[in-house]
């Protein structure tokens, strides 16, 4: 196959994934993607606070609420402000600056205002105890604070490309309650009879928003070349439109930095046949020739897997991955006589406990 169309396609995919993921992430963490058309009537930060109060809000309705470019409009309806709380909190120029508007149009019908956001200053107290506490009675055995554990082997597969074949693993495990979890990750591959690459992470996971967790910990890389250790800080969660997203920043020794972005989507062909596109990209702050890594966008994988849920917890699959190395990383790989772009057929299982 010709290289050029593939490259183009991949770049389009990368761009599309970034378009979807970045603003989605922003929204999920409480930042607005700045796309709702009521954002036209969104008050300034100062006004938002008033609106959040909700009592000063009998302003005339802005019947012009419609579609168009965002611009803060001081004259807005109190009613709108109320609904808007979820969207306006944490409005950050960085998001707006990207100009990403994946959910434009009549987003009035969208629900973000019903989710997330920050409590208005006069929000009701949930405390009706009048100072009365719990008794000393034993025997309560509610499970709402109980620790659970999960092992998710998202991908355990055999891959076969033009120039490489082997096995790869992408697994996560956690243990803890709703508020605190110990979270382990392992992703890597073997080939040519040896461990090629293995990224392991030990993280402390905390929920920060309805669908988002922060993860803080360490990462250690094994495989070809010297091991590397990093501090890790990331977010993981579910973006609007059901994109599962992981974005993690890493700081290593000798001033190394890295950023990893991964997103998955599940398309239900039936209740059991599920098509799962997947995208992953790695960026590095500086060269690491010993591990064939160059600064900048180092590699990206776009894949799609078709799995059948024999049970919820056991699903074999087949699929295809397209891996592309970029910039200096590509030079390293080329120098090693390996392909810069490689499609791989994969077959494996998705299992969790």
């Amino acid at each position: 196959m010709s290289m050029q169309p593939c490259r183009t396609a991949l770049w389009v995919a990368v761009a599309a994934a970034a378009m979807v993921t970045l603003p989605s992430l922003a929204q999920g963490t409480g930042m607005p993607p700045a796309h709702h058309h009521q954002s036209e009537t969104q008050p300034s930060a100062h006004d938002s606070k008033q609106a959040a109060g909700g009592h000063d809000a009998a302003m005339p309705a802005d019947s012009s609420a419609g579609h168009g470019m965002h611009h803060p409009a001081p004259e807005t309806t109190g009613q709108l402000q109320r609904l808007d709380i979820g969207a306006q909190i944490g409005e950050r120029p960085v998001v707006r600056g990207l100009g990403l508007q994946p959910m434009t149009g009549d987003a009035m019908h969208g629900m973000p205002p019903m989710q997330g956001g920050r409590a208005p200053p006069d929000a009701r107290s949930p405390d009706y105890s009048d100072g009365v506490g719990y008794g000393s009675m034993t025997g309560m055995d509610m499970l709402d604070d109980k620790a659970l554990g999960m092992l998710l082997i998202d991908r355990l597969e055999y891959f076969d490309g033009r120039d490489s074949r082997g096995a790869s693993l992408d697994a996560q495990a956690w243990y803890g309650n709703d508020e605190n979890k110990l979270w382990l990750k392992a992703e890597g591959e073997t080939g040519e009879g040896r461990l090629q690459d293995l990224r392991t992470e030990v993280l402390w996971d905390r929920p920060v928003a309805t669908y988002w967790d922060t993860q803080l910990g360490v990462r250690h890389d094994f495989g070809v070349g010297p091991d590397r250790t990093w501090a890790a800080l990331g977010v993981q969660g579910l973006a609007p439109y059901w994109f599962h997203v992981e974005v993690t920043a890493y700081v290593g020794q000798s001033g190394r930095t890295a950023l990893r972005l991964a997103t998955e989507y599940e398309l239900l062909l039936t209740q059991r046949w599920i098509l799962q596109p997947r995208f992953e990209a790695n960026l590095y702050g500086r060269d690491d020739p010993q591990r064939d890594i160059g600064a900048g966008l180092s590699d990206a994988v776009l894949g799609v897997r078709l799995r059948y849920e024999v049970t919820r917890q056991f699903a074999p699959y087949v699929g295809i991955d397209f891996t592309r190395r970029f910039a200096k990383t590509a030079d390293f790989v080329r120098a090693a006589g390996k392909p810069v772009f490689e499609p791989q057929l994969v077959a494996g299982v998705h299992i969790w406990f």
Binding site: A119, P126, Y128, D141, D144
Partner: protein, 610 residues
């Protein structure tokens, strides 16, 4: 009158579902033996009564082998039976129940809906420390009410594994409800899985038991029907919110087998009648996590009592019974034929079924399950969706299997300025919104434990609920229920209000009130003697049966008039309900969602009356 007149008989082994097909005549023969048909699979020794009446009772809690699906499992039984024996008391007596725990784990029995001293209420950690293995706890309390109730374990998941039974209290005087036949119809859900695994599955994957999610073919079907734009639009909100319009209930027929009086559908529990007789059916939803929609094709159902309290009789074709709710119904079959008692689950993937017949061994046609409903805009947005479809009934938007278009219309016709409210009813100049009560979200509703908030809940009670709207049948609603005699405290003014919001995060399977799980919350304090109003706003897209122990919940109409007295109040998605409570029962009480998995996930509060 022959109430529970012959509830004894030889026990029979539990046949598997396959064997049931062959064993049907035998099952029917067993059914003939009793008005309260002894569960044919229970390991009751021959001659042991399954109706226990009087004032002194000995109840043994122990594991027992059961087999509802063809897979042998251990259930938890009372006196060897699942459901446990029917307890029959009389109002005005004092009952003594010696409950012995023969399990290896602690246990308890809670008397659902009864007014009693709090230390007799049977909630571990609140009423008492639970019944330790090998120990006997003596419950003793005066019986101050009459009607149909039930009992169940309040420990862990014992209720899911069989520790429940019916409780009927005869009035001190003559029963104003006249019937020639009198049957308990107890509805339950059974899973062959360990309930703790069910809970863990839900924590790890909220949609684990939902096999009705929208698919790609669904989408293309919608595209061809309504066009690409509308098909996309109908999914927009759901996808942005990361919620499913098919998330009606968390545990479904994917794991549940639904039981009627402990009998799976193939077993066909049967109650006998002679044409022309008045038959009283005491429906008890003793399930752990199921809503049932009940009807008897060919018969009008006259609802005469709700949660043990007599109501002005109302004729319906069908009623929804929430988890832990109770409805007494009179039917009067005139024909000499069989009638199917059909109780389909709200998730439309299973049913409990039995038969009313003039002779044993008969059966009537079993209806098809209704299509799986899609959650309507009104279930997400309350009055916001309601107020802008004046031409449609309050349940606009749900029109059957594919109401996406309707939903979308309901949203589309909504003008932004009219639809949204400031939180202060007086401050809106929108006609539709006049009289809408204010909603006050708690400051703890803005965190990871909450996936939606409803700013404008609907308050109407005349909505039968999702999946029952416009189905061509007359379906009971709370607006139809009027307790005979009205409120117990008609002249006592209502003092303060306590507003609590039902909240959850379906993805994380976290449930609570005001965004707080039980373990994160403080008790709710009622001042002894006060007459207060509880305001519940359902900030979730699921229906929750909320149960206050020890005191009645006197449900109010939207204009705060007394409506009906209940012990369990089902709150629909995006609905606001209010009810009065007379805090006349000193002590510590449980207050919770009666969906067992929601309760265990945190939708629970302790109420202290002092």
């Amino acid at each position: 009158m022959k109430p529970y007149d012959s509830g004894t008989g030889p026990s029979m082994p539990m046949p598997s579902r396959r064997r049931f097909v062959q064993g049907l005549a035998l099952g029917g023969a067993a059914a003939m033996l009793g008005a309260w048909n002894k569960p044919s699979w229970a390991l009751t020794s021959p001659g042991q009564p399954t109706v226990l009446s009087g004032t002194e009772f000995a109840l043994d809690i122990a594991e027992t082998p059961v087999n509802f699906t063809g897979a042998a499992r251990l259930g938890i039984a009372v006196n060897g039976m699942v459901p446990g024996p029917l307890l029959r008391w009389r109002e005005g007596t004092t009952v003594t129940l010696r409950v012995t725990n023969r399990l290896r784990t602690s246990s308890s029995i809670h008397w659902h809906g009864l007014l009693l001293p709090f230390d007799m209420d049977g909630v571990p950690g609140i009423s008492f420390p639970s019944i330790a293995p090998g120990e006997t706890f003596v419950y003793r309390f005066p019986v101050r009410q009459n009607g149909t109730y039930w009992y169940h374990s309040h420990s862990g998941f014992e209720e899911q594994t069989g520790l429940y039974g019916p409780l009927v209290i005869d009035p001190a005087g003559p029963d104003p409800i006249r019937a020639e036949r009198d049957y308990v119809v107890m509805l339950n859900d059974w899973t062959d899985e360990n309930p703790e695994s069910v809970f863990a599955h839900l924590k790890k994957m909220g949609e684990y038991y939902n096999r009705g999610e929208p698919t790609v073919p669904d989408f293309f079907a919608d595209v061809s029907k309504m066009g690409l734009h509308r098909a996309l639009a109908s999914r927009k909100m759901w996808n942005e919110m990361r919620m499913s319009p098919r998330d009606l209930i968390d545990v479904t027929g994917a794991t549940y087998t639904y039981l009627m009086n402990g009998t799976p559908p193939a077993g066909n529990w049967t109650g006998l009648f002679q044409p022309g007789e008045r038959v009283r059916l005491r429906f008890i939803n003793g399930s752990s996590n199921s809503y049932f929609d009940v009807r008897i094709p060919g018969l009008k159902l006259t609802v005469v009592a709700a949660d043990g309290q007599n109501v002005e009789p109302v004729d319906v074709d069908e009623f929804r019974i929430g988890t832990a709710e109770v409805y007494d119904v009179i039917v009067q079959p005139q024909e000499d034929r069989a009638y199917t008692i059909f109780a389909q689950s709200m998730s439309r993937d299973g049913y409990a079924r039995g038969t009313l017949a003039p002779r044993a061994g008969m059966q009537a046609e079993v209806p098809h399950l209704d299509p799986l409903p899609v959650i309507a805009m009104i279930d997400m947005m309350g009055a916001m969706a309601q107020g802008h479809e004046p031409s449609l009934p309050p349940h606009a938007g749900e029109g059957g299997r594919r109401p996406d278009g309707g939903e979308h219309n309901a949203m589309h016709d909504m003008t932004p300025n009219g639809a949204i409210r400031t939180g202060q009813p007086a401050s809106t100049d929108d006609m539709d919104m006049h009289g809408m009560p204010a909603v006050h979200h708690a400051r703890t509703e803005y965190g990871p434990n909450v996936d939606m908030r409803v700013d404008m809940p609907r308050t109407n009670l005349d909505d039968p609920g999702i999946g029952l709207r416009d189905n061509g049948r007359r379906v009971l609603t709370y607006a139809d229920l009027h307790t005979v005699g009205g409120s117990l405290y008609p002249d006592t003014p209502v003092g303060r209000e306590i507003e609590l919001h039902l909240t959850g995060n379906m993805h994380r399977f976290i449930w609570g009130f005001d965004g707080l799980k039980f373990s994160q919350a403080k008790p709710v304090h009622f001042r002894y003697g006060e007459h207060l109003r509880l305001v519940l706003v359902n900030d979730t897209m699921m229906t929750h049966p909320i149960h206050l122990h020890g005191m009645w919940s006197e449900l109010e109409s939207p204009d705060e008039k007394f409506q009906v007295r209940k012990h369990t109040i089902s709150v629909q998605p995006a609905q606001r309900v209010t009810y009065r409570v007379k805090a006349d029962a000193l002590g510590r009480w449980a207050y919770h969602c009666h969906l067992l998995y929601h309760m265990e996930a945190g939708m629970f509060r302790e109420v202290v009356v002092s």
